[in-house]
């Protein structure tokens, strides 16, 4: 039986077409900013000298009076965002993930999270798919250092469309949010009708042999892996866990009960990311099942093309297929 996406997920019809639309998740961020800017006059955008590559520029063109160029000063940008939030604004902070929450984590911790300030942080250029810029610019630790913070919501959307929706959702909830997105173009496989809710995972395919729980553009690789495996008669449940915090524990538990074998997938270090969060959920709430981590193997990245890097460090569809085989083997003992 060949894999089919669930109707409830409302994905694009031509999921595996060669000419599926490709768009970077950062483009979805840019669209989302312009839309929430139109909806809510309190939305302001702060940018750290990266308005073109974070797409914050799209907002600036529409609402120049609500765009704040902060220069290369991510620490002050985060503290200022807290001040703006305490005065009733909804600041979106746009820069690369290595700088925010990387460089300014102390400001994020105290001024934003501890004060529960209504600030929306945006980590652009997250993951190894940043490519040629190399290890310094590839944020592989940002999920770990944001999800550890009380009051923080952490979202890593799977495609441009989901990113757009996540921007809306972030603007609507009260409190700090970290949105993570990527530089390079990836398939747009969700549609405006695909459900999105903060804290609610989306089951994309059904299957009872193993579950893949993923966040970010690697979700599409998980679908590809599930298709390849279905050709061999292996049924995989693919779950888009866009919200890493608060984690949808019920969907994870159900997947573990139904499949007995879990693979987590993310463009992030294997320590402290989504995989860690899923393991925490399963070991504390049960059931404890074999889990394989598709993630960066405790290593820094390097320059290269996104696909080369994802293949080399084991974060592509092939790595997922292998991980599913491994986890099923472990399940069978």
């Amino acid at each position: 039986m060949l894999m089919k996406a669930l109707r409830t997920a409302r994905l694009v019809e031509t999921l595996f077409a060669k000419d599926i639309a490709q768009r970077a998740t950062r483009d979805g961020y840019g669209d989302g900013l312009v839309e929430v800017g139109a909806k809510n006059p309190n939305v302001v955008v702060l940018c750290g000298d990266l308005k073109e590559s974070t797409r914050a520029e799209w907002f600036e063109k529409k609402y120049p009076e609500r765009f704040v160029e902060c220069g290369i000063s991510e620490q002050n940008m985060a503290a200022m965002a807290a001040g703006l939030a305490l005065s009733g604004k909804i600041p979106f902070v746009a820069t690369y993930a290595v700088f925010c929450p990387g460089r300014n984590w102390d400001q994020v911790r105290i001024s934003i999270c501890y004060q529960n300030a209504n600030v929306k942080l945006s980590g652009a250029h997250a993951g190894i798919s940043v490519g040629p810029d190399g290890a310094t610019h590839q944020a592989m630790e940002d999920i770990a250092i944001t999800r550890v913070l009380p009051n923080m919501t952490v979202i890593a959307p799977c495609d441009a469309e989901e990113t757009r929706k996540a921007v809306h959702a972030a603007a609507e909830i009260r409190g700090p949010v970290y949105l993570r997105f990527a530089r390079h173009k990836t398939p747009v496989f969700t549609t405006p009708k695909t459900p999105f809710r903060i804290g609610k995972a989306l089951v994309l395919t059904e299957g009872s042999d193993a579950g893949i729980i993923a966040c970010g553009p690697i979700v599409y690789s998980a679908l590809e892996a599930a298709r390849q495996l279905s050709e061999k008669g292996i049924g995989v449940r693919v779950i888009d866990m866009a919200t890493v915090k608060p984690l949808d524990g019920a969907t994870i538990q159900k997947a573990a009960w139904d499949t007995g074998a879990i693979v987590t997938a993310e463009e992030h270090q294997r320590h402290g990311g989504l995989g860690g969060a899923v393991a925490e959920a399963l070991t504390s709430q049960g059931p404890v099942v074999p889990q394989e981590f598709v993630a960066m193997p405790d290593h820094f990245g390097e320059s290269g093309q996104p696909d080369e890097l994802l293949a080399h460090y084991g974060m592509d569809a092939d790595a997922l297929v292998a991980a599913v085989h491994r986890v099923i083997k472990r399940k069978r003992g």
């Binding site: 000063s73 620490q75 985060a78 200022m80 807290a82 001040g83 400001q107 001024s111 009380p150």
Partner: protein, 295 residues
């Protein structure tokens, strides 16, 4: 709010605040002495000298002037001033740094989590300040919000000289100068000490005035223990529309307590009960110059 107090009364209030600080610190058994003592005159000027438009009965009044703290470790002077101004009962000062208190070790405007023992933040506190040089950024963001919304309220930010060591402090100063945030006044507690020694030995700040001016700020130097001068400088700052203003308040660390004055070792520790007695005696008698009847 009109200044209802004469200079004599203001000086008396400042002395009272210093006594409160000593009592709070000795009761808490930990905390900072030098900074809170040397800022007592500045805080008296702000809250009792007619500088801040504020209302202790309506701490969240939208048109209030904002006092943003950047050196949150001087919490005792903030708490004592707010209590004396009527924001909360004086007796609550005794709870400083104790489990379940609203008077956290560093000024605090967090939203308590479900497990916290205290139920709401202390009235009159605008922000959380602890890790240095964050409050200045919050103040700049607050001032920016005021300018964006064409508000009339002013933002005052209290900073220590030591925290000028932080690189991010100057990020904020650069931004505010560039954006000409006219509604922002920074008051620098220039007491020349930090935890490990004298500021000019550790990371020299001078010429501090020239640094601010180079960042497009207007600078006013005042004697931080001359309440009248502090009030005048704050009013001058309000009248300057083209730039943010830095008031460098030259203070004596530990002001008012003979054995604490000028000594950096009192930056981060409280007096013990014996020392507290001596300190209170100093404060009541202007360092032994006047012997009161209660002695």
């Amino acid at each position: 709010m009109k200044p209802p107090h004469t200079l004599k009364e203001l000086e008396r209030i400042a002395a009272q605040i210093r006594e409160d600080i000593i009592r709070m610190l000795v009761e808490a058994g930990s905390g900072h002495s030098a900074g809170p003592l040397d800022l007592a005159d500045v805080f008296t000027a702000l809250y009792f000298g007619g500088v801040l438009r504020h209302n202790p009965k309506k701490p969240d009044w939208p048109e209030r002037d904002r006092l943003i703290m950047s050196n949150g470790h001087v919490a005792p002077v903030v708490y004592a001033t707010l209590a004396r101004a009527g924001y909360f009962p004086l007796k609550e000062l005794r709870t400083l740094r104790k489990f379940g208190t609203r008077l956290q070790g560093h000024v605090d405007r967090s939203t308590p989590g479900p497990r916290a023992k205290w139920s709401k933040h202390l009235p009159g506190i605008e922000n959380t300040a602890a890790s240095l040089a964050q409050g200045i950024g919050i103040a700049v963001g607050t001032a920016l919000a005021g300018v964006m919304d064409k508000k009339k309220w002013q933002v005052h930010c209290i900073t220590s000289d030591g925290e000028h060591d932080e690189g991010s402090f100057w990020e904020a100063i650069l931004f505010a100068g560039n954006r000409r945030l006219w509604n922002l006044t920074v008051i620098v507690d220039r007491n020349n000490i930090q935890i490990d020694g004298m500021t000019e030995d550790i990371a020299p700040l001078e010429p501090l005035r020239a640094k601010y001016e180079a960042f497009k700020w207007h600078v006013i130097d005042v004697d931080g223990h001359n309440i009248e001068q502090v009030i005048d400088a704050c009013n001058e700052a309000k009248a300057i529309y083209e730039k943010p203003v830095a008031i460098i308040a030259h203070t004596i660390a530990g002001k008012g307590v003979s054995f604490m004055e000028y000594d950096y070792q009192w930056h981060g520790k409280p007096p013990d009960p014996e020392q507290a007695k001596q300190a209170l005696r100093d404060l009541r008698s202007l360092r032994g110059q006047i012997v009161g009847e209660h002695e």
